[in-house]
């Protein structure tokens, strides 16, 4: 029972830790499927987290915080779109730029507005997305295993957690069952064909980066308003890049993306749990090993040793209309 409890605790924190990855990963999915590489997920998430926390701190409302996060994150996504779609700039360069602008400005503005060393004021319950208890969770709590799992794992998360999992199904539906999704995927593979069919490549790609911005805003909101009670400087701490790794790991598909994010979240939860505890047979494993594992796994995958990750064919290439 003791091991079971430990496992449940680890799985519970796996869910919490993988949600920002999942939202950012789905965000990247829209953009990259439309042929716009986005390594600025990290920056958009960070800016969203800051905007969300700042607006929630000032207004006292979590929803206003969420709206601010979505606005700021979408604005940065549009900057990325403006550079890489309209001006055909290098998408990697633009993504790097957005990461820096977000990293610097969140600290500067946070310090200037709140003077707490780059933090935002701690948020009360109304200004956060707190845990909600699902119906029947309390009643089923004492039912062994199933009821306990329902109470501990399924219930008791913030609304954004359920939203993130719903977005997996929704993204799958949008990409593979709607006309917009078909065109989105087509524009990432062969924009000339989409253009020939009379559909605007630029507008389609802009809509894709807007989706990216919105989802990154949600990811940032989750970090600042659900997982924590406010913004801490550099709070994304590379999560945007792990999300990118998960996206590649999932070969740019929504449902595998969910599993990849859960896997990476699990590794994170494990590394927190394992700190200082020796494992049987191998002894004490340094926490850095678990921290590096998502990146190592992604590199191994990219090397083509466990399946092959082939990005959308037109990814990273600006579209020049025939003249």
């Amino acid at each position: 029972m003791d091991y079971f409890n430990t496992l449940v605790v680890i799985l519970d924190s796996t869910i919490r830790l993988s949600i920002p990855l999942l939202l950012a990963c789905l965000a990247g999915l829209y953009s990259e499927r439309a042929g716009i590489f986005d390594i600025g997920l990290e920056g958009k998430m960070l800016a969203g987290a800051f905007a969300g926390a700042a607006a929630a701190a000032v207004s006292g409302s979590a929803w206003i915080g969420l709206s601010a996060a979505l606005l700021v994150s979408t604005f940065l996504a549009l900057v990325h779109g403006f550079a890489s779609i309209t001006h055909r700039g290098n998408q990697i360069v633009s993504g790097v730029a957005i990461n820096f602008i977000a990293a610097g400005s969140t600290i500067i503005l946070g310090q200037a507005w709140f003077s707490q060393g780059g933090r935002t004021p701690s948020l009360g319950a109304d200004a956060r997305f707190t845990a909600i208890t699902l119906p029947g969770a309390e009643a089923l709590r004492d039912v062994p295993i199933v009821g306990y799992l329902y109470y501990e794992l399924v219930s008791g998360h913030s609304a954004l957690v359920y939203f993130a999992f719903a977005m997996v199904a929704f993204t799958w539906w949008v990409l593979f069952r709607t006309r917009f999704g078909l065109r989105l995927r087509a524009v990432g593979e062969n924009p000339a064909a989409v253009d020939t069919a009379g559909v605007s490549v630029a507008w389609l790609r802009y809509r894709a980066v807007i989706c990216t911005g919105i989802l990154c805003g949600f990811a940032g909101t989750y970090l600042a308003l659900a997982q924590n009670a406010g913004f801490v400087k550099d709070m994304t701490a590379g999560k945007g890049f792990i999300a990118l790794a998960a996206l590649i790991f999932a070969k740019w598909r929504p449902v595998p993306a969910m599993f990849a994010c859960l896997l990476f979240g699990f590794l994170d939860a494990l590394s927190i749990r394992m700190q200082g505890t020796p494992l049987p047979l191998v002894g004490r494993v340094p926490a850095q090993f678990f921290q590096a594992l998502p990146y190592v796994l992604t590199v191994v995958l990219l090397a083509g040793f466990i399946g092959r990750a082939i990005p959308p064919r037109a990814g990273g290439v600006p579209y020049v209309k025939e003249r």
């Binding site: 590489f37 390594i39 900057v79 403006f82 550079a83 890489s84 001006h87 055909r88 700039g89 290098n90 998408q91 990697i92 360069v93 633009s94 790097v96 730029a97 957005i98 990461n99 820096f100 602008i101 977000a102 990293a103 610097g104 400005s105 600290i107 500067i108 503005l109 310090q111 200037a112 003077s115 780059g118 590379g238 890049f241 990118l244 790794a245 590649i248 340094p286 850095q288 090993f289 921290q291 590096a292 990146y295 190592v296 992604t298 590199v299 990219l302 090397a303 083509g304 990750a309 990005p311 290439v317 020049v320 003249r323």
Partner: protein
Amino acid sequence: MSAPYAKLPAWADYGLIPLINLIVAFAVAGLVVLLVGENPFRAAVILVDGAFGRGQNIAYTLFYATSFIFTGLAVAVAFHGGLFNIGGEGQAYVGGLGVALVCLAFDGILPWWVNFPLAILGAAAIGALWALVPAYLQARRGSHIVITTIMFNFIAASLMVYLLVDVLKPVGSMSPQTRTFLEGGQLPKLNFLLEAVGFSVRSSPFNLSFLLALVCAFLVWLLIWRTRLGYEIRTQGFSPRAARYAGIGEARIIIITMMISGALAGMMALNPVMGDQNRLQLDFVTGAGFVGIAVALMGRSHPAGIVPAAILFGMLYQGGAELAFEMPSISRDMIVIIQGLVILFAGALEHMFRPSIQALFASISPGTTGLGSPKREGV
């Protein structure tokens, strides 16, 4: 890919447009200062004074610039080969390991002028090795170098934390760093150079690796524009298809280019580790690897542009520290914003003003742009 832009005169291409991009980047940074509630012009004055006001400040500016020359060159060499090495940060970080291992092994036995070349080799070798894996994966397995180098940055960070905390830390010490190097592991300072020109420098970390950086800049110029290998690298970068057609081994060029790039990034570690702190400590790179991207973009991947761009960023680093002192609401992180804006406007949006400048040129003198010139159409 067809170039959608017509030609401009060289001075506009290499002077005017980068200048306009830079001005816009700084103007937007000024808006941020305004948003914070300070006067951007006063901030600029404090910044420039803090960077060049006294000999002491100049020495610090050049110390920071040294690191940026190395990382800027690293990014630039990769750019010439059509590769984006975003992993300079990680390569520099593990490069520090090469410096530290040499210094820890020989600092008590050999003088610094023997250890210096060894440390250069150590830093360059480990930096190059760290770039080798992403390069190999790009060349042979087709994995995207940008993603793999990002991953290697994180792997480097984890590896170095592990090494510093569990392996290299002296017994009984609490802080995660190596022991301080003895005399043989310390580079001489170059403060006398500034004093010779009439400035007074009390103490500064400005050291010999600055000269090494300048030598490297010259060597990179020699390599890229005056050797057969450089020609092959540029061909590969300009048109991989043409390179293949000309019989240039694609995989070979990718691997060699990235290893040179990694070696340059690794050598950046000499400046802080052997020149200043005299020990290997956590996060000594402090973003210099990423600044290299901005420096390379601003310097247009040419050593003659990279050195001034690196000095500009050194100025921002040093002046920014003074600025944080004078205006408490502006911390050093202002540099990160400026860096981002420079990357955005000089890199991603470099063509933003081109159409309007072309139109301007065409309206002033139709012959210069090759656009709207009736005489040429007849030829």
